[in-house]
């Protein structure tokens, strides 16, 4: 059966060849789209590990302030916390949700290869403010002030990478700044949180380590600080103005910008979805062309093969048989076109050209295959139905 169909396809090789080339190109673009969808889809399935509702980020630039910064910061936190409408205030350095300021460190544990991790330096309120789920142990608290070895909290990705099924609590981890060899720290794991992803729902899962912030020695000057403020529902511009006013009044020279986390999240989503939209538009256009090509070719084929159809009907083939023949012929042609496409697509995971997991490529291929097969099937239905309606007597008389 298949051999016979292949022979039929070969007899019309000029038209079929062009169509196969179209199908191949469309498959490759759909494969790209499928991979993008797979990346986004896999990321969306997991929660980001924090809640962004009613949280504002206050980014403070210290503008070369020469006064000691630590007392100012303490006063600021106290004042902001006392505002009616404000629930909690937390100070965090680097890798706060949707932040572009990231600190990467090399983490090492005895008997394990080193790992690049994102580091967050923060205080006791951070986890409660962002409603982060705690899987093991506890978050930082006052007990840690007297601890001999500084406490460390890790997220789920880091726990899996370092400890697997073995217990994580109580283990020692050494950290070294990725660029500055002099910045080192060591600590003991006191807690494990869920998979905290600073990039939000569409950010990549990554190992993150949290360190409890210790007030630095006098005279240490930082360029910027980030405060997270959780506010009561229903508060708006008036409270924001009030907070900005307080910061200006207390710090004199610092500048501040306040952004709701929900705004930052919308921007991050837009960034991630833009390439999807672009490739999607191009794919839709290519599919439209494939549809036109398929319709044209099939109608042409059916009008030219009326005698063949008439003969088959006269010899006892039912209308369904005729319809099926055209559908299967198109599907065989699609398969022929997709084989080289799959071969090309398979090179991506085999060569590992882009740093994406094999899952993504497989899902991408699957999505492209499904879309293309369903699409060609839909385009074949109407012409096949036309072919099936041909009356043997009429077709043979014309001949």
């Amino acid at each position: 059966m298949i051999r016979h169909l292949l022979k039929l396809i070969w007899r019309r090789k000029a038209a079929n060849g062009l169509l196969a080339l179209e199908l191949l190109l469309t498959f490759l673009v759909l494969f790209g789209l499928g991979c993008l969808v797979a990346v986004v889809g896999l990321a969306l399935r997991q929660p980001p590990g924090f809640s962004y509702e009613q949280v504002w980020t206050l980014r403070l630039a210290t503008n070369n302030d020469t006064l000691p910064q630590e007392p100012t910061l303490l006063r600021l936190q106290r004042q902001l916390g006392q505002q009616p409408g404000v629930e909690v205030v937390s100070l965090a350095m680097y890798s706060t949700p949707f932040s572009e300021y990231i600190m990467n460190s090399t983490a090492t544990v005895a008997g394990q290869p080193p790992l690049i991790v994102a580091e967050v330096e923060t205080d006791d309120q951070f986890a409660a403010l962002l409603e982060m789920p705690l899987l093991e142990g506890r978050w930082f608290d006052r007990r840690d002030e007297a601890a001999g070895l500084p406490p460390i909290i890790i997220n789920r990705e880091m726990r899996e990478a370092f400890f697997g099924n073995r217990p994580a609590l109580g283990q020692r981890i050494r950290l070294q700044h990725a660029l500055n060899e002099n910045e080192k720290a060591e600590g003991r794991v006191v807690g494990v949180v869920g998979s905290y992803r600073p990039g939000g729902e569409l950010g990549p899962p990554q190992p993150v380590v949290f360190r409890r912030r210790v007030p630095p020695a006098d005279g240490t000057r930082m360029f910027a600080y980030t405060l997270l403020v959780k506010v009561k529902p229903g508060t708006g511009a008036a409270l924001e103005q009030q907070l900005v006013r307080i910061v200006t009044a207390i710090t004199k020279t610092w500048t501040v910008s306040a952004t709701p986390l929900s705004d930052s999240r919308a921007l991050a989503l837009q960034t991630s979805l833009a390439p999807l939209l672009a490739v999607g538009i191009i794919s839709a256009f290519l599919l439209l062309n494939v549809a036109l090509g398929l319709f044209g070719m099939l109608w042409q084929a059916i009008s030219q093969r009326r005698d063949e159809i008439g003969l088959r009907r006269a010899l006892g083939a039912t209308a369904t048989d005729i319809g099926r023949q055209f559908v299967v012929e198109t599907l065989v042609l699609t398969t022929l076109a997709l084989l080289p496409g799959l071969f090309i697509a398979a090179q991506f995971p085999l060569l590992g050209v882009l740093g994406v997991s094999t899952h993504v490529y497989l899902l991408g291929m699957l999505l492209a295959l499904v879309v293309l097969y369903v699409f060609t099937l839909l385009c074949t239905l109407q012409p096949s139905w036309l072919a099936a309606r041909i009356q043997p007597a009429v077709a043979l008389r014309e001949e």
């Binding site: 191009i282 256009f285 439209l288 044209g296």
Partner: protein
């Protein structure tokens, strides 16, 4: 003769409705997508105010920092570095400095007005040609002393002071700081990110960027050459000036100046950590997309033309029998293809204009006004004509060479 060709072509197009539809849709959609894409890019990188002379502009947003043992890093220069070392780049070269926009807030009657503030020096106003609706820019002297003055956009003026109210000389309070408005400029679309802001002010005197011996910050260098021919000299002068900057230890820095178009590609792809060479990737991606967009309709056109000619064997046979030469017949088929392509092209232009009009009024209103580019329309139409002729010419030539007997014998109804 030509007129009768046209008449026949029109009749043929009407008779083969599906073929006509396929070709028209293929050609017009291809042109529409190309025109819209290029219009968007043109809005971001074409010659519009404030970047009136893109050929003469260079932007130094990033430097390459090479530290022994630590590899390479991409960093942005600070105001101090540019101001101290890169001010003198040859006769006639204008130098400007600006920083990334900062989100600041102004409050008007209990409402928050989110504003983008761009710190600049005085030279910024010489490099870029803003259209001033009222007042004038602040001077280099004012910028140097960090005076609390501001140039604001027309939209900001309208939202803060009210429509029709004078803004120049008034005080605008943003982030608890009081700025005296010295000028109002026409709105700049956000796509024009080198110039875009709602509020332009001098750098704060206390800003970290301005402190001596701080080489890295969040600024960029803007350069305007006196003429297009002087741009290579300007690049060379910049390279020399950067090489002369004294650095600690064995560290070395190099500027990576880019043209307006390159910086747009850079910006589009910089958000995605896909590559370290965004300009090349952008070229490959857009080139690939254009090739695909042209290739698929062309394939359709070819396959349709081939099968159509076979269908018209009887017509060809009769005309040959009555004495038409191969040349006459081939000419007729070529005219048919031309008519079809031109019709599709016109349709595409209309579609693109309608879509861009819709986009300018709705979704992309913040990005300015869009128009389809007629130059691109010409090129794209030429490309489809070439495809159409290629696809039409070969079957036409083959069929025109058929002998009359042969054609009539194999003809089908």
């Amino acid at each position: 003769m030509f007129l009768s060709y046209l008449k026949i072509a029109w009749k043929v197009l009407l008779r083969r409705k599906f073929f006509t539809l396929t070709s028209l849709v293929g050609i017009s959609f291809t042109l529409m997508i190309l025109l819209v894409g290029v219009a968007l890019y043109d809005r971001a990188a074409g010659a519009y105010a404030p970047e009136q002379y893109p050929d003469r502009l260079l932007f130094g947003s990033y430097m390459q920092l090479k530290m022994p043992g630590n590899g390479e890093m991409k960093v942005r220069p600070s105001y101090w570095l540019i101001n101290q070392h890169l001010r003198k780049l040859g006769p006639g070269v204008q130098v400007g400095i600006s920083a990334e926009v900062q989100a600041v807030a102004a409050y008007v009657g209990g409402r928050k007005l989110a504003l983008a503030l761009k710190p600049t020096d005085g030279g910024f106003w010489q490099v870029l040609q803003f259209r001033f609706l009222a007042g004038r820019p602040y001077s280099e002297r004012q910028a140097r002393s960090g005076e609390a003055v501001a140039v604001i956009s027309a939209r900001t003026a309208r939202q803060y002071f009210g429509a029709g109210q004078p803004a120049v000389g008034q005080v605008l309070e943003a982030n608890e700081k009081r700025y005296r408005v010295v000028g109002v400029v026409a709105d700049v679309p956000t796509m024009r990110f080198h110039a875009y802001a709602d509020l332009w002010t001098p750098y704060e005197p206390s800003a970290l960027e301005r402190q001596p011996e701080v080489p890295f910050g969040e600024s960029e260098l803007l350069l305007l050459a006196p003429s297009t021919a002087a741009v290579p000299d300007m690049r060379a002068a910049l390279r020399r000036a950067v090489a002369a900057i004294p650095m600690d230890g064995d560290s070395r820095i190099a500027f990576l100046p880019s043209t307006l178009g390159e910086s747009v590609a850079d910006r589009l792809l910089a958000r995605y950590n896909w590559t370290s060479k965004p300009v090349q990737l952008f070229r490959v991606l857009s080139g690939g997309a254009v090739a695909l967009l042209l290739l698929l309709p062309a394939l359709n056109l070819i396959s349709m033309n081939v099968s159509r000619m076979r269908e018209r064997a009887s017509e060809i046979g009769i005309r040959k029998a009555f004495g038409a030469t191969a040349g006459t017949l081939a000419g007729q088929f070529v005219v048919e293809t031309l008519v079809l392509t031109l019709l599709g092209g016109l349709l595409g232009l209309v579609l693109a204009a309608a879509l861009l009009r819709g986009l300018s009024n709705g979704y992309l209103a913040a990005y300015g006004h869009f128009q389809p580019s007629l130059v691109v329309f010409g090129w794209a139409l030429a490309a489809t004509l070439v495809f159409g002729l290629l696809s039409g010419a070969y079957p036409a030539w083959r069929m025109a060479r058929l002998s009359a007997v042969e054609a009539l014998k194999h003809a089908r109804a």
